[in-house]
Amino acid sequence: GDSVTQTEGLVTLTEGLPVMLNCTYQTIYSNPFLFWYVQHLNESPRLLLKSFTDNKRTEHQGFHATLHKSSSSFHLQKSSAQLSDSALYYCALSDRGTGSKLSFGKGAKLTVSP
């Protein structure tokens, strides 16, 4: 079945440093949809980025990611971390072949300190 492997556990950064959260996936489908969801403390997850186009950079709120089908990757990046970026980040894969099933990675808790 589909699976997502992402940077897990705790990621601690100092404000101003770059953010890089890795995400790789496995799927039998040639046209997967990849997502990054963000969940701030005591809130529900919300969509941060999504992409289905190979080698095209997608950006939102200072974050960006590029889907690379050749390496099955969709890494999340930001040039300069802010305190407000502290949150849980989930990479997810849409299995369009079997309909509505979104496979989430285990999540990474990003903590940005001053």
């Binding site: 529900s44 969509l47 099933k101």
Partner: protein, 114 residues
């Protein structure tokens, strides 16, 4: 604009007792509806999804059941709670079955089973 309302906000229940959680989506006809479960510190696990009234598909067996009695309503229930049912339950909707699965989450129900 679409709104999603989940109830209750939190529950503390005894092992072996019944449970019913609900969510209602307003402003969108025939949404795709989902139940997700998040253990403390864990990832998002899809439990059920529904694309139409009366039709619910189970993704993971956790001794829970779901029903969609109305187009805008999704219910999660069990007759006998287990300790392992504790966690954060999220209802979500997406606008389109065929396109990229952008999920919009409700505010969640925090369940503690004692």
């Amino acid at each position: 604009a679409q709104t999603i309302h989940q109830w209750p906000v939190a529950e503390i229940k005894a092992v072996g007792s019944p449970l019913s959680l609900g969510c209602t989506i307003k402003g969108k006809s025939s949404p795709n509806l989902y139940w997700y479960w998040q253990a403390t510190g864990g990832t998002l696990q899809q439990l059920f999804y529904s694309i139409t009234v009366g039709q619910v598909e189970s993704v993971v067996q956790l001794n829970l059941s779901a029903s969609r009695p109305k187009d805008d309503q999704f219910i999660l229930s069990t007759e006998k709670l287990l300790l392992s049912h504790s966690g954060f339950y999220l209802c979500a909707w997406s606008p389109d079955w065929a396109s990229a699965e952008t999920l919009y989450f409700g505010s969640g129900t925090r369940l503690t089973v004692l």
